[in-house]
Assembly symmetry: D2
């Protein structure tokens, strides 16, 4: 199949959507991103790459980071992670407190904010230097060293992150946060502020498409069972309150972020990453989602 | 792969679980089912069948019926079905009214009770004789004529179905039910009371595994897009509040019922049906779920 | 104090408000009421009456009827009534199902719809002819025989009463309704459809102001303890989600209805009834509430 | 009436209840209070005092402090206080986040924790030294200078106050908190940690019974309208989720605290304070509530 031609067709078809979405504006650092940016990067397990658009430009990966956080933590702590965070879709806006209160401080899954905050808390309890270990882990997945957090973004998130602070306090009141509230928040916001290119994200997610084994370094990052678990959570919980719509339209496990990125995988075949800062009403990249839908339709590839 | 041998191994392995679950007891007709019943039926697209246990005994398919209801309705009405019922996981027990009230009478998806009640209402509005057309549709999918509703079960469901009555009244108060409340409930309970064997269910679901085309009659029951939609909903919403757990442990789209049945598919490969009346805490068959987990693990087949 | 003069002043002051509210329009029988109607009727325990406006015209008392339903039922069944309905304010719109589901089918108090539906169910279980006994009870309280239900209003309420049907079904699913759902609904809607004049309502409520003893017939309708209980519930739950505002602005126990009536009492002193069909956003009569506020302010009488 | 004899009778009657309640144990400072303590202090507007038990011992007044916070703030800012906090009963446990999220960060009333946190925030914004002004205000109401906060209690509350921290963060996310979250929490916990005797509380609340005018210093602390508002809020919201029960059994406006104190008033007549650390399931003093019920029954005094 001529993947490059397909990506170029898709680029033309989604161009009219690129400025239709709404760029996240709760912090100035995200609000100021040029919403005309657009890129798709496809990376296959047999090591071919195809790309269109702004694929070498860094952007804030935001919630996509939650996949790396979970993978690193589960590779250290194993299944006991799921004693403190469930694995079911939330059926509520991604940062709702109602369900958290109703379910005694146990978040529905690790890909909503509350769940990722609990994962962050586990990392502080378990790792000597969680900040350094996380960065090193992501750099290993990518296969290069120049991946960094954006301290300005993290600081700005903290300054506006009162709903996240509410959640971590609420969970602490239920005994599901072990460490200092501010320490958890600071680290969480740093993890979210990491910046990567489409190309880098595709390399990192290709490891998941390869069942957790690095394609270049052949390192086993997660076990087969952990791969299955993470893929299942991406499939059912990776797109805020639009997991069902994404499963239908795209049909790939993945994760989106409010920075406009979406990373998805077809196990055993490829990873694919799109970036377009304009979001739809549910908080997922408008043009990115359309591009992925066109891709799986045109190539006839999806998990179903 | 020696599927028959694998099924027999699984049978031995899950036997200790068969009497550990709790048989549904909200109506006497379900409460009186022998909880030692157990069967697995595997049917491939290249038309081989493998079976162990009580696969030729009829049981109440209950919520599995919702897949047939959706397929029939969407094949007539198309995408406009989704104006009145959403396609996202619910994140709440399957019959909660809270979310329904919060979302103005629009159910989260067609596989929770409220959603299937709306589908039933659409069928009444659109079909001359929805009861007959539904039975005929299911019989066509199965490929034989002796599939029936159990009137006694339906009557008993009606007698105890006050929560369903509450939901349909609530939705009617929001304008999302067009027909008479009792007419909707009566028909819905009949649809749920349909009785099938593992073998029959496997034949019906094989049509979905074959992208909506009958393997024997080669009839196109639903379009490719409708197949994708139904499969995505089975994947994200098919197992009450355990969709994430099922996606991880089993990794197949499917649907369960409180009668103890589970029907699942691997698109392009096979359909598989288990029956074991003992349920786990979330309302899914305890031994059936374990059997399916063992099957996808032993065969290395799953959508991921 | 020159009560007549005060009422006339109030009449002038609230006239500009009379056409500002919104007449209840969920059934045509209420929607068609002339919203320029206005009346105040004051009746003292030393048997003086003062009135302005349309005080001899019948109107639909709607939820005010709930006070009579509770009084009659509690006088027969005593405190055990409160095993099936609580006595606390609801803090939610008057017909919400959320709290009802959360609290296992026990309504918050007898003056919200769900609570009055449970009271109706008790009446069916306890009385030979609840319909007749209720009418006779209200007629006794008023001291005359021409008080009737409006069958057309009751039928219209039933036809649009799906939210009430949802509630009674939900409560039945929790075991808190003993009788047939439709029988409960029919009777409830009849009770709500009763029509009275300001004058008649004032006579009935004067019995409550007199601690449950008829001023003319000297009959003891409820015990001192039952008087205290009903008055407390009127005080904390009588005005939908505006009990606090009413307590501040008016400072009298009472009950309002969507027909635009408000009946209130100052124990040991008087009963007072207003009628003005235009409602505020919370469902209470706009001009009626203002009139009562002016009355307690001008006369310096309130429970505080 | 021989009030002293009545108080002594009550003392005997409630003694068996004194050790039946459960002392608040979420912080050690409250958990360690002797639960056999008991006192009643009655203070009339014609300046007679009657007392039994431990009425001169300081205890942590906790939520009773919210009345003083509201009175001081409303006397400075007037009605605009109610733009940021509603005046209706909550119908939910006193510290629930659900309603707060549902109502966009506007607390239901100033006597639940979230409401008092907003009041604290207003005090920080409006007063040069809110801590000093508050203490001075309470000392003025009492008429003596030795009223203090207990810094150890305040620190302990802060250490365990994650649910309060969650609420203030949530409200800040909605824009309903102007100041630094920690500053608000620190001050709030200090306000709650104030210690007074039954005698002192009775003197302070007598000012409210006297419509806001000091009986000794004749100073006007709040306007007549503010008196009416505060009294109405005490009546409908003063007893967590037991306002209706208290209105029925006792029939006085008032406020309780988890330290076991209850302060209540009969406007124009008296203030009365009880202290008994054992709480009932709803968080109100078990023996204190019974003592007040006996008092209003024996004396025939209540607002109804």
């Amino acid at each position: 199949m001529d993947y490059q031609k397909i990506l170029e067709e898709i680029h033309q078809e989604v161009l009219p959507l690129v400025d239709k979405g709404k760029v996240a504006d709760y912090i100035p650092e995200l609000a100021n991103v040029d919403r005309n940016k657009f890129g798709i990067y496809l990376l296959t397990l047999d090591d071919n790459a195809y790309a269109v658009g702004d694929v070498l430009e860094k952007f804030s990966i935001q919630s996509i980071s939650k996949v790396f956080m979970l993978a690193l933590t589960i590779s250290h702590l194993g299944e006991k992670v799921y004693d403190r965070v469930d694995v079911e879709p939330s059926g509520d806006p991604f940062n709702s407190l109602v369900q958290l209160e109703h379910e005694s401080g146990i978040p529905r899954n690790p890909f909503i904010n509350s769940g990722a905050l609990v994962i962050t808390d586990m990392m502080i309890s378990s790792f000597a230097d969680p900040r350094a270990e996380f960065l090193e882990y992501v750099r290993d997945l990518v296969g290069q060293a120049d991946v960094f957090c954006n301290k300005k973004v993290a600081a700005s998130e903290k300054e506006h992150g009162f709903k996240n602070a509410a959640m971590v306090n609420l969970m602490k009141s239920f005994g599901n946060i072990e460490n200092d509230v501010d320490e958890v928040l600071d680290l969480y916001f740093e993890f979210c502020s990491i910046e990567m290119t489409c190309s880098e994200l595709a390399r990192a997610f290709r490891v998941f498409a390869n069942h957790g084994r690095g394609v270049i370094d052949t390192k086993k990052y997660i076990t087969e069972s952990q791969f299955k678990r993470i893929t299942a959570i991406m499939q059912t919980c990776g797109f805020y309150d639009e997991a069902g719509e994404f499963a239908f339209r795209v049909g790939l496990p993945g994760k989106s972020g409010v920075g406009g990125g979406i990373a998805a995988i077809l196990p055993d075949k490829y990873s694919i990453v799109t970036w377009s800062p304009g979001l739809n009403k549910k908080g997922n990249s408008l043009a990115g989602m359309k591009a992925l839908e066109l891709f799986t339709t045109k190539t006839g590839t999806s998990i179903f």
